[in-house]
Symmetry: C2
Subunit: 389 residues, 2 copies
């Protein structure tokens, strides 16, 4: 186990009707907030009205900025920064999923910064001050509600880049599983894939003696594997929705990653897909992850066997452990198919004419940092993309 520091400083407020507390929670931090959200879905469900009423009752002035798209865009972030500056806003309330939260985080880092907010995403500067961010979560997937991550897409070149800093963690996250009842099946499934990816990319590590985090990862994966088909069958299964929602947070607040180094190759490769083709991040991961596994598993058969036995209840093949390892990968792929996700680029309607360009772009961005479990060259990335065709 490696040395680590850990503090997930987001206050979790979880359960039925908790969204009604949003006004009083905001009031602890601010009296003037930017209410940030996506399209019309929160208006259709009535959540928008509940939030506005709660803010008004708490005596909070708010200015709205809607229009966040999946794979949130830099242009809207810049608009948000302008609004916050002009109106002396010191708190951002994100109502939505990972895209809205990430957009809010980017606005929060950019507002007090004199330069271009994209500097942070290119590693040219590190944010020192941020506006506080609060969350009402409607999509369990990205785990952004309690994570230090933030991913933004720059339309100028379609670069999708991340920023990971402790200062990014929201101060509170209100999580009512009922708010996820209206998620379309495809989005529910994509969310599950994203959650599982966050866990697996921590799980596949070369750091030895990480028993506890291994076990926690395996337990979280088993929970998602059990409960996702249940919500696909009955979208209003509160308890199953709750399990998935809580798993989404723990999958990415880094509890499951302490003392070990993960391998985020699949996430980085997927960023090239969704950067160019604007596919759902989780669906892209369901394509890339199994391809990545098939390409590299031979270098770490014992870990893939552990994954198969402990997560998928595969019987260990003592004579040919490789069979166990392969069966685990197959079960993962079958699981994704079973919840309606594509597992090939073709299934995502992505043609194969830009694979080399994506591989080069991915390598250029990540350099030697791509792959800790198994390091990847440009050719490796290209091969993985070909395997995913």
């Amino acid at each position: 186990m490696q040395n680590f520091q850990f503090l997930s400083s987001t206050k979790i407020i979880f359960g039925k009707e908790t969204e009604k507390k949003v006004g009083s929670e905001c009031k602890k931090h601010s009296s003037k907030v930017l209410l940030h959200y996506g399209g019309g879905s929160i208006k259709k469900t009535g959540l928008y009205e509940t939030i506005c009423l709660s803010l008004q009752e708490a005596g909070i002035e708010y200015i709205e900025l809607s229009g966040v798209q999946p794979n949130p865009r830099l242009s809207l972030v810049k608009e948000g920064i302008k609004i916050c500056r002009e109106n002396a806003i010191d708190f951002i309330l994100a109502v939505g999923g990972g895209s809205v939260i990430d957009s809010a985080k980017a606005i929060s880092t950019g507002t007090p910064y004199e330069g271009d907010v994209w500097d942070f995403f290119e590693g040219k500067a590190v944010p020192e001050n941020v506006l506080k961010v609060g969350v009402v979560l409607t999509i369990p997937a990205a785990g952004s509600e309690a994570s230090k991550s933030c991913v933004i897409t720059n339309e100028d070149g379609w670069y999708k880049r991340g920023l990971n800093v402790e200062i990014n963690r929201p101060v509170f996250a209100i999580m009512n599983p009922e708010l996820t009842y209206t998620l379309p099946p495809y989005q529910t499934a994509s969310g599950a894939a994203d959650i599982m990816a966050h866990i697996m990319e921590r799980y596949f590590t070369n750091v030895s003696n990480v028993d506890l985090t291994d076990r926690l990862c395996e337990g979280a994966l088993q929970t998602v594997i059990k409960n996702t088909p249940m919500v696909m069958e009955n979208p209003e299964n509160y308890d199953a929705r709750a399990e998935i929602m809580w798993a989404s947070t723990l999958a990415h607040n880094d509890l499951l990653g302490v003392g070990r180094i993960g391998d985020w190759s699949s996430h980085q490769i997927e960023h090239e897909l969704s950067g160019i083709y604007d596919v759902a991040h989780g669906a892209g991961l369901a394509v890339i992850l199994p391809a990545w596994m098939k390409y590299i598993y031979k270098q770490r058969i014992e870990r893939f066997a552990q994954f198969a036995v402990r997560v998928w209840n595969v019987g260990y093949d003592f004579e040919t452990p490789e069979r166990t390892a392969l069966e685990g990968i197959k079960r993962l792929e079958d699981f994704f198919k079973g919840i309606g996700l594509p597992t090939t680029l073709k299934g995502l309607n992505i043609p194969d004419d830009r694979l080399e360009e994506m591989a080069q772009k991915c390598k250029k961005t990540n350099g030697d940092k791509l792959g800790f479990f198994v390091p990847l060259s440009t050719e490796d990335i290209f091969n993985i993309l070909k395997l995913a065709k």
Copy 2:
């Protein structure tokens, strides 16, 4: 799953040589601290010198209060309160295990309070302001380094009582597994029992649909079960010490208890033992827990079967699930014996002439709150104590 709020606000600084950071961490909060510890062990190991040097280098003035005993006493707490008040101290640095940390927490709640600090432990008042507490952990067991718990023994009647308030959580916990190399085997084993008790008392719940926390509990238990015999065999096994140390924190910061209601009967009954006979808390639990299980398992056979199958890898007996349940309890008892713990009152050198008195005292303190998984009457407690003879 039930509604919950969760924020474990303690910053964890984990790994080799982390104790050298204590000065700079304290400095973020204070320039004048109470250095609180137990007996001479931290002087023997050299930890005392490291801490003092680090505090001095950070320009921190400190006043010492040593002498904390296992089952920490109210009289020393009152002495600490007096020192803090007279010297305008605003931060307490606890160097030790649960007893030292709990003593520090009690001093921190009592210092700004005009009344008697024992009021908090009798439920007559709730602390509103506290001094901040930081920790350098030397014993993985109580989980007090990141919990809201604090247990103090009042020598006037030998009452051992707890106080659970969010405001009690330390601001940081420095955890270097190397600092636990010198723990005597009996104390290591008692610590493991305490950790396992914290997990099991959350695990045995009547709240249904708690998949994720069930899995996390099971994983944490399996980690302690695997690694404790390894440190009994080789006390300087860093990785095994690290697993146990990190498990001790997660076992009691309430991550494993969110959305469910635990059953703390065994802890409460044990408090009567260690209040009167001053036995190691974990050793007392190793006696009470199996007796409690044997007494109540028939009312929840399916949960004890799950415990047996998932934690102890017992094969499920489809014809007679009760056998599975009993085998799990037996494995727990065997495990305690295997690491050198007593599993009977006799083994703890506790005579059987005051069992009734303890049962009455326990019931009087806890009233109807004793037992959520299975509620316990005074007679039930008495029967459990008799089973433990």
